[in-house]
C-alpha cells in the first residue's frame, strides 16, 4: 500500500494582513495512493457477501472483515429467508404512482429493496434477472457499492455458473470462486 506524506489538505498560505500566529502548523498527514487520508480508506470496508437463490435459500455466505456481529450459520439462513420475504413485500408496498404501460401492454417491473442504511453498515442488494440476490454488507462510507456487487456477480458468473459440476440453486462450494472473491474483496 503506497503512502505518501503531504501537508494537511486545506492549509492555505497566510495572507500578508494576518499575523504569524494564525498560520496553521503544517503537520504531515499520511495519504493513501488514491489521495484520501489513510484513516478514511481504512473505514471503507466490505464486511460480508451473501447469495440467496430464487427460492430464498442461502447458497453462499462469507465474511471478509470484522465489523458485524458473529452469527452462526443457522442465523444466516434465517436472515436470508427473512430478507427474501421483505424484498418481495417492499415491491408490493411501492407508493409511486403507476407508470404508463409499455407498448405491448406489459407492466414495467417494480423493484425491491436495492439499498438499506443503518448506523453501522449499509446493505446493497443486487437481484439478477434469474432471481438470485447478492447481498453485500459494507461500511456506510464505502463508495460504489453497486459496482462492487456487480463485480461479485461477474466473478460468480465466471467461476460458479461456468463450473460444469455446480448444480443450480444449490450451495456454492467452488474453490476458485472463493479465491477470486478473496482476491477482490479482502484487503491485505
Amino acid at each position: 500500500m503506497q503512502v505518501r506524506t503531504g501537508v494537511c489538505g486545506g492549509a492555505r498560505q497566510p495572507e500578508a494582513s494576518h499575523p504569524n500566529r494564525y498560520r496553521r502548523r503544517a503537520s504531515p498527514v499520511r495519504l493513501h495512493a488514491t489521495g484520501l487520508r489513510v484513516s478514511e480508506v481504512a473505514a471503507m470496508v466490505v464486511f460480508a457477501l451473501l447469495i440467496i437463490n430464487k427460492a430464498g435459500g442461502l447458497i453462499f455466505n462469507r465474511t471478509f472483515a470484522p465489523g458485524l456481529q458473529k452469527l452462526d450459520s443457522n442465523d444466516y439462513l434465517i436472515l436470508a429467508g427473512t430478507f427474501h420475504g421483505i424484498h418481495a413485500i417492499s415491491r408490493t408496498i411501492s407508493p409511486a404512482p403507476p407508470v404508463q404501460p409499455l407498448p405491448g401492454n406489459r407492466r414495467p417491473p417494480t423493484t425491491g429493496i436495492e439499498s438499506m442504511e443503518s448506523s453501522h453498515f449499509r446493505l446493497t442488494c443486487f437481484q439478477t434477472p434469474t432471481g438470485v440476490k447478492f447481498l453485500l454488507f459494507t461500511s456506510p462510507e464505502q463508495p460504489n457499492t453497486d459496482a462492487v456487487v456487480r463485480r461479485c456477480y461477474e466473478i460468480y458468473g465466471e467461476f460458479v455458473m461456468k463450473n460444469p459440476f455446480y448444480s443450480l440453486e444449490m450451495p456454492v462450494r467452488v474453490e476458485k470462486f472463493d479465491r477470486a472473491l478473496g482476491a477482490y474483496l479482502v484487503r491485505p
Binding site: F83, I86, I89, T92, P95, I113, E117, H120
Partner: protein, 168 residues
C-alpha cells in the same frame, strides 16, 4: 422531490396516523367492452365488495405490510450490527422509506420518491414541533391513541401540510 405518504405507529404496534399524498389504489377507469369478455368472470366476484371498501382494505393492508417490513428490518439490523445499531432507511427502484423511532417507541415512517436526501431531520422536526406540540400536549387527546383517536386533530394536520409543502 415529493413525499408519498407518512405513517405513525405507536408502541403497541398500532397505526395511529396515516397521511397519503398519492393514491396508488385509485379506481381504474371504465374498461371498454372490447376487453370486457375476458375480465367478466373475475369482475363479477370483485363487484360483490363495493369499491370504496376495497380501497379502505387495501390502505389498511398497506399500513400492516409497512409495519411488518420495518419490524423485520429492525430486528435484522439489531442482529447484524449489535443492539445499538439503528435501522435508518431503505431505497428501492421506485421509492425511499425513511424511519425514525423515538425513545417512547413511537415510529414515524415516511415514503418519498428517490430524489430526496436524508429525511431524518425532517422526521425529527415533525415529531418535535408538530406531534409533541399538537398531539401530546393537547389536553383533549388521550394518552393512548387506540385506533388513532386524538391524533388527527386540525392543528396537527394543518401544521403537517404546511410543513411538508414548505420542505418540498
Amino acid at each position: 422531490m415529493s413525499v408519498y405518504s407518512l405513517y405513525i405507529f405507536d408502541r403497541h404496534t398500532e397505526c395511529i396516523y396515516t397521511k397519503r399524498w398519492t393514491d396508488r389504489h385509485a379506481l381504474p377507469a371504465i374498461r371498454s367492452t372490447a376487453g370486457g369478455a375476458l375480465s367478466n368472470g373475475s369482475s363479477s366476484t370483485a363487484n360483490d365488495i363495493p369499491a370504496a371498501t376495497r380501497r379502505a382494505m387495501k390502505h389498511s393492508d398497506d399500513a400492516k405490510l409497512i409495519f411488518g417490513t420495518i419490524f423485520s428490518l429492525r430486528r435484522m439490523v439489531r442482529q447484524l450490527g449489535g443492539t445499538d445499531d439503528q435501522f435508518l432507511s431503505y431505497r428501492t427502484g421506485e421509492y425511499k422509506l425513511h424511519y425514525f423511532e423515538t425513545p417512547t417507541q413511537l415510529k414515524l415512517i415516511m415514503l418519498t420518491d428517490l430524489h430526496v436526501g436524508n429525511m431524518r431531520t425532517v422526521l425529527y422536526q415533525i415529531w418535535a414541533t408538530l406531534y409533541v406540540e399538537y398531539v401530546v400536549k393537547s389536553p383533549l387527546a388521550p394518552t393512548e391513541h387506540a385506533s388513532g383517536v386524538g391524533v388527527a386533530n386540525e392543528l396537527f394536520e394543518g401544521g403537517l401540510e404546511r410543513f411538508i409543502v414548505s420542505t418540498m
